[in-house]
Symmetry: C2
Subunit: 118 residues, 2 copies
C-alpha cells in the first residue's frame, strides 16, 4: 500500500535575506569532505565561479570567513572550512535532524491517517 | 541589530508524488472562505482552469472528493469543501503550526547564536 510521507525544506533568513540553507550547508560540507572548492562545486553540478560566489555571499551575509586556503604540500594546497564554518555546519545538521524528527512526529499525530489513500 | 530567523516549507508525498502542500491547503482554505473556486483561484493569481486542475489532481492523489457544488440559492450556487477536505485542512494547519513551533525551538537551541552577525 502506498504510504504518504512529510517532506520539508529549511532555510535561514536575516532581514528577508537568505543566509543559510540545506543546499548551502551541503556546499560547505563538500568543501570539508573534498578539501577543494572545485570538487565541491562539481559534486553539486555548479561552476567553480558560481560556487565561489555562493561562499563569498554567505560569508558577507554572516559577516565572517567560512573557508580558508592552505597553500603548498603534496597536493598543491587545499581549501578548508574555518572553525566558525565547521561549527555552523555541525549545528545546522543537528537543527535539521531535530526538525526532521519533529516533522515525522507531528505528521504521525495529525495527518498520516487522513492522507493515506483508502 | 538584524536577527536571523528560520523558515520552512512543508509538503506531503505519496510514492514520490506531491499530494499536499502549504500552497494546496491554502487553495482549499480559500474555497471554504469564499464559497467559490473562481474567487479562490483569483486570490492566488491562478486561472480558474488551473485551480480546478489542481483540485482534481489532489482529489485523484488522495482518492476522495474534496469539493462539492451547491446549486441554486440567492447567489446562484457555491462551491464547498467536503467534510474530508475540511478535516484535512484543519489537521494540516495543526501539523504546520506544530512544526513551526518546533523549528523555532530547535533553531533557538542549535543555531541562532551562531548565525547572528557579530
Amino acid at each position: 500500500m502506498p504510504s504518504s510521507e512529510p517532506r520539508q525544506k529549511l532555510w535561514i533568513e536575516t532581514d528577508g535575506q537568505l543566509v543559510m540553507s540545506d543546499y548551502r550547508v551541503r556546499l560547505l560540507e563538500l568543501v570539508a569532505e573534498t578539501g577543494s572548492l572545485a570538487e565541491a562545486a562539481s559534486a553539486l553540478g555548479l561552476s567553480y565561479r558560481r560556487a565561489w560566489g555562493k561562499v563569498k555571499e554567505i560569508e558577507a551575509n554572516l559577516g565572517r570567513p567560512l573557508v580558508r586556503s592552505e597553500v603548498g604540500g603534496a597536493g598543491g594546497g587545499r581549501t578548508l572550512l574555518t572553525p566558525a564554518a565547521e561549527q555552523i555546519v555541525t549545528a545546522y545538521r543537528r537543527f535539521q535532524q531535530r526538525v526532521e524528527e519533529d516533522v515525522e512526529g507531528a505528521y504521525d499525530d495529525e495527518l498520516r491517517d487522513l492522507l493515506t489513500p483508502p
